[in-house]
Subunit: 119 residues, 2 copies
DNA sequence: TCTACGTTTCAACAAACGTTGATACATTGG
DNA sequence: CCAATGTATCAACGTTTGTTGAAACGTAGA
């Protein structure tokens, strides 16, 4: 992930409705949510949400697929983790003060080597 | 870190000059950089940088201290790692697809239990 | 085909953002 | 004290952003 894409991602997440949308989509899981349901969940108009979804999609944070009349949006897990890695990698240039506590905290959330993933 | 602060942090990082400032400050380490040096590094006017530094400080991403005539800015490592933890924690509500690859990648950057920190 | 439904696009507007120049503040040295 | 340096504040501006309403597009069923 280059700086330009990271800027777009950070800017996308720096907006209340878009952050809520991402949270809702990640929470919804790979099945995603229809645009209408998402608009209702966040509490904004459909056209307004469409504007924000386009921005999130452009930032690589969400994906979309059509299912009948509905368009299902889902979180782009790769894009999200890439963003975290960008922030951490750029921040740890010889100074792991940022990464160490973050990794320690995340280990309890998604430990790839242990059995506490469902904590 | 609550949603309001996370929003401020993301919005702060979603701006080219501010992202560059954070990167420069983190790279500089705990010693930090004087405002003038930072302005010269980024390539923007001092008053413009001051505007951005105030926003970054308000978002909890940087700290400042006076040293003679200069004001030294430094990265707020706690705020940065809190932001990563916010993004990860909120994203992993039963779906560790995001956290697992991120943790795996970060383990090589700041592994708190291993010896690959300098990879 | 037509109609209904869900979603997207478009133009327009108010609000917020980022930059500039001038000015004011804080600190140091003479 | 005064002058010089470094930084912060302020008003003004042009630009960008987020929202709204109307319209258009795509899909499914009658």
């Amino acid at each position: 992930m280059d700086e330009r894409q990271a800027l777009a991602a950070f800017a996308a997440l720096g907006q209340e409705h878009r952050l809520r949308a991402v949270q809702a989509l990640v929470t919804a899981g790979p099945d995603g949510l229809a645009a209408g349901v998402l608009a209702d969940t966040i509490g904004i108009a459909g056209n307004t949400l469409s504007f924000h979804l386009k921005e999130l999609s452009h930032a690589g944070l969400i994906a979309s697929r059509r299912d009948g009349k509905s368009v299902i949006y889902s979180a782009a897990y790769t894009g999200l983790s890439d963003l975290v890695q960008f922030l951490m990698r750029d921040c740890c240039q010889g100074h792991p003060e940022v990464c160490t506590p973050a990794v320690a905290a995340l280990a309890a959330c998604a430990c790839p080597t242990g059995d506490t993933a469902h904590a």
